[in-house]
């Protein structure tokens, strides 16, 4: 598709095969889901601050979600927690993040006209779209959406008698996630093939920007682990609908003994976390890739230790496949197995530490330009330090005994995975917005958005560690049933205050985003003075990316402030000068 052919509304905005438009489709769907997921969290945070009391926020809920006194009812509280987790993990931070930036950046940064298969790429989005519709429709079924936690452990998720959400709601959840997996596999295969085969002349693997490296490794993780989730889900569908006993055994529910014998819920957990742990890095790595790029561009310095950064990504990805058992230390598995998983888990701290040190070394003696994207990239580094460190507690099986499944975990993963990734996503949006829409997002609103979010997010998630160390389990509808937790209500109120305030700051982002699409100031071709190839394309979107020949690459992506150069950046297409050494 080397020429800019005629497009009509449908082929341009709906069934488009242009990777840039598909990226925007993923982004906007992801943003919509992020708003839904965030509102859910606002609602259950209000419940946690004022257990059982009514609130004006509950007006947002469709259907019979309330108890007699107008407060949220316990079943529906669990439904909200479950859907919040599902939406944020899969819809926002997997599809919203990878889907957007893999689609947008891969062809632009490697110098390709489009993805290897534009058609599969389109299919990937539409599977995701249908998955979204199915998931959202489950909010409107009479018995409510899936409510057994986003990890859907059976037997709870298999038995409607155990919790109403495990009826139609769970069926829809499973259908939706099946479609989701198909969509992400189509996308993932496409990303891998594109990166390996469609790099322009001169774009060797050693010259790839770190974003592309991160997206490649993410796609490989996805392709290797999502099929396991699919089979895990299929077996659950069999247990739920066709009377098999893969996960079920020796159960009496609602006064009735079930026929199932010989199955094991632990099998489910193994299969689930074999996806579940790589999934954490599927979420995190694209953000780290984006952050590496944004920090280098805005420090006006090369990323420090490029090879070590790639090596760290590869090592993290490899280790992520052999650590899933740390989610299961307390399942009664053989303690020796626990030891092995503790060992592999704590090893991840090494490449993670290397990444942090390299980010700090990149900032050192830089000439830092604080664009909104840069602020969020810094936010990621800060969250990665703060949240990553508590992983050393949780990954240690002996310590996990007392913090497993408590708010300590909730605090940990919301900071290291949630905040790091969502900040990375914001950084990406602010940074590449000019490329996506040809206009700039407002800088001052971006600043306001960052500071509000940064302060509120730490206000929400840091105190959770203390709740966990006080012994408070997660997924409790209310803490009022145990006198030992009575002292925690102040902490909960503080968290809820910050959560609601943080939600309000997101309005500035949404407003800035949509306003700037139509009314933002016009962007120049290379507004951030970057080296990478996407900034050599014309400001106006064309299908095929470059009007003439494809660019030829002659250097790596990080020649910022190189001695001897006139400017503090050198495009990747600029040939090496005579006698110039490539970094």
């Amino acid at each position: 598709m080397s020429e800019h052919h005629k497009e009509n509304f449908i082929t341009k905005y709906v069934f488009t095969q242009d990777h840039k438009m598909i990226a925007k489709q993923f982004l906007i769907t992801g943003m919509f889901m992020a708003v839904v997921g965030m509102l859910m969290s606002a609602i259950f945070r209000v419940q946690l601050a004022n257990p059982g009391e009514s609130s004006i926020l509950y007006n947002l809920l469709p259907g019979a979600w309330l108890n007699d006194s107008g407060g949220l009812n316990p079943d529906k509280y669990l439904a909200l927690v479950t859907m919040h987790g599902t939406i944020l993990v899969f819809w926002v931070l997997t599809a919203g993040l990878s889907g957007t930036f893999a689609n947008f950046l891969i062809p632009l940064q490697i110098g390709a006209r489009d993805m290897a298969s534009g058609f599969l790429n389109m299919l990937s989005y539409w599977f995701f779209f249908i998955a979204t519709v199915v998931l959202l429709s489950s909010l409107f079924v009479e018995t409510g959406p899936a409510s057994g936690g986003w990890t859907i452990y059976p037997p709870l998720s298999a038995l409607p008698q155990a919790i109403p959400g495990s009826g139609t709601g769970m069926t829809l959840w499973l259908i939706s996630i099946t479609l989701f997996v198909v969509g992400s596999l189509l996308g993932g295969l496409n990303y891998i093939v594109t990166i390996l085969n469609l790099r322009t002349i001169g774009m060797t693997m050693q010259r790839l920007p770190l974003t592309v490296w991160a997206l490649l490794i993410t796609a490989i993780l996805g392709v290797l682990s999502f099929p396991v989730l699919l089979s895990c889900g299929l077996l659950l569908i069999f247990d739920r609908s066709f009377g098999t006993s893969f996960y079920l055994s020796d159960i009496i529910i609602g006064g009735e003994a079930l026929h199932n014998e010989g199955g094991s819920p632990i099998l489910f957990e193994h299969l689930f976390w074999f996806l579940g742990h790589p999934e954490v890095y599927i979420i995190l790595l694209p953000a780290l890739g984006i952050v590496s790029e944004v920090i280098a561009v805005n420090s006006r310095k090369p990323i420090f230790g490029y090879k070590a950064m790639v090596g760290a990504l590869l090592l993290i990805a490899f280790l992520s496949f052999i650590v899933w058992g740390h989610h299961m230390f307390m399942t009664g598995m053989n303690p020796f197995l626990g030891s092995v998983f503790t060992f592999t888990t704590l090893l991840i701290a090494i490449p993670s530490a290397v990444k942090v040190f390299n980010y700090l070394a990149t900032l050192w003696r830089g000439n830092i330009r604080f664009t909104p994207a840069m602020l969020f990239a810094i936010g990621t580094v800060s969250a990665f330090i703060t949240g990553g460190l508590t992983g050393i507690i949780l990954g240690d099986s002996a310590l996990d005994i007392n913090v497993h499944d408590t708010y300590f975990v909730v605090g940990h993963f919301h900071i290291v995975m949630g905040l790091s990734a969502i900040y990375g996503m914001f950084a990406g949006v602010y940074h590449w917005f000019p490329k996506m829409y040809g206009r700039m997002m407002n800088k001052n609103l971006g600043y306001l958005h960052f500071w509000g979010t940064f302060i509120c997010a730490y206000g929400v998630f840091f105190p959770m560690h203390f709740l966990g160390l006080a012994g408070l389990p997660r997924r409790y509808y209310s803490n009022s049933a145990f006198p030992m937790f009575d002292g925690l209500s102040d902490v909960n109120e503080l968290i809820t205050f910050f959560a609601l305030a943080g939600a309000i700051f997101q309005v500035f982002f949404l407003f800035n985003f949509f306003y700037s699409i139509f009314k933002g100031t016009k962007a120049t071709q290379n507004p951030w003075k970057s080296n990478t190839l996407e900034w050599t394309t014309p400001v106006e979107r064309i299908h095929g990316n470059w009007p003439g020949e494809l660019p030829v690459v002659t250097r790596w992506a990080y020649d910022y402030s190189k001695p001897g150069a006139d400017e503090d950046f050198i495009l990747q297409t600029e040939p090496l000068k005579e006698g110039e050494i490539e970094h």
Binding site: P74, D75, L78, G149, Y153, L159, A162, I163, L248, S249, D250, I251, I253, A257, S264, R300, F304, G305, M330, G332, P335, G338, S339, L346, A349, I350, V354, F357, L360, A361, L363, R365, G366, N367, I368, I378, I385, D396, A398, I401, N402, H404, N442, K443, N444, L445, W451, Y458, F462, A470, G471, Y476, F482, M484, L488, V491, T521, P563, D568, H583
Partner: protein, 326 residues
């Protein structure tokens, strides 16, 4: 009415924002400057903000540690728990040191190296010595931590059955706990979910000779300094038996038996003295199990041998309970 008001307020807010943005853009057009360009002034403000807010965050962390310290769990009331607490102190100390070193460096660098148009960054793409150094140091520290952790884990999980070990079953179901004492023979009678009927709520096989002297209870009494082995079963979904004060946690999984052994070191009465009259050892459910997950509890009481003997004698055994009182 309130809903309409909220909608009106939101619309007004958005309209205000649009106008503010328009004004700022028009102003910049008049001044012939790009409103979205990051100026030296911006870099200065943001750099200083990072210093202030960053250190503000660190102060907030310290404030939480001071203010909420009393909310945290008291020192462990079990032998292995004390070792876990020690490991926790070391690990927590370590990560706090790293946190309080790296975060200030990050925030300080942002302030110190805030950009100026006239400045140029230092081209510094890699340094093998540095990189080896900061790979090797974490590796050494983590190796030590891993070894220490695994030793503690081994001690906590490896149960050696001695003659004085009491075996107690803890049975979870939506949404309560039941305990079963193994009686004089210290052997739990076999159980099967198909036998759950009427008063035999645990499905104990009364044909098994070991079952006759088993005792069911709605609270668990333990003897101070005597080892106990808890055996966990579940009737319906996965529950998790969590005894935070003893540093004990284990999932209860339908279809299998799990276990956790420990030795309590402080009686409830002693804890009441140090922690207040309201103190009780509590078993919580720590795995999402349904609507009343948040209120699934059972009391544990640690007492002296004499108190325990009196209590145990007052509990009827299963044979009497199930077979004779028809």
């Amino acid at each position: 009415m309130t809903n309409i008001l909220i909608v009106v307020v939101v619309i007004l807010l958005v309209a205000t924002l649009v106008q503010i943005l328009r004004v700022s853009e028009l102003l910049s057009e008049i001044k012939n400057k790009d409103v979205n360009e990051v100026t030296d002034k911006d870099n200065n403000t943001q750099g200083i903000l990072f210093l202030i807010v960053g250190f503000g965050f660190l102060i907030f962390v310290v404030w939480q540690m001071v203010t909420w310290n009393h909310l945290l769990l008291p020192p462990a009331s079990s032998v292995h728990g004390t070792q876990i607490d020690f490991l926790m102190k070391i690990s927590m100390g370590l990560i706090l040191v790293v946190f309080f070193v790296l975060s200030p460096i990050l925030f300080y660098f942002l302030y110190k190296y805030r950009g100026k148009k006239s400045n140029k960054a230092y081209f510094f793409s890699h340094n093998n010595k540095l990189e080896v150094l900061w790979t090797v140091i974490p590796t050494i520290i983590l190796t030590a931590l891993i070894i220490f952790g695994l030793k503690t884990w081994d001690k906590a999980m490896n149960v050696e059955l001695t003659e004085s070990t009491t075996i107690i079953e803890v049975y979870g179901q939506q949404f309560n706990w039941t305990a079963r004492y193994s009686g004089l023979d210290n052997n739990l009678g076999k159980a099967n979910f198909k036998l759950v009927k009427g008063r035999n709520t645990l499905g104990v096989d009364m044909l098994d000779a070991n079952a006759a002297d088993d005792k069911m209870a709605r609270e668990v009494h333990l003897v101070i300094d005597q080892p106990v082995l808890l055996k966990f079963r579940s009737q319906d979904v996965i529950h998790s038996a969590f005894l935070p004060h003893f540093r004990v946690q284990m999932n209860c999984v339908p279809g299998m038996t799990t276990q956790f052994g420990f030795t309590p070191t402080k009686t409830t009465a002693q804890m009441k003295e140090s922690e207040g009259e309201d103190f009780e050892y509590i078993l919580l459910c720590n795995k999402i199990c349904g609507a009343s997950h948040y209120n699934m509890q059972m009391k544990f009481i640690v007492e002296t041998q004499e108190e325990y003997d009196i209590w145990l004698a007052s509990q009827e055994n299963l044979e009497t309970k199930l077979l004779t009182q028809k």
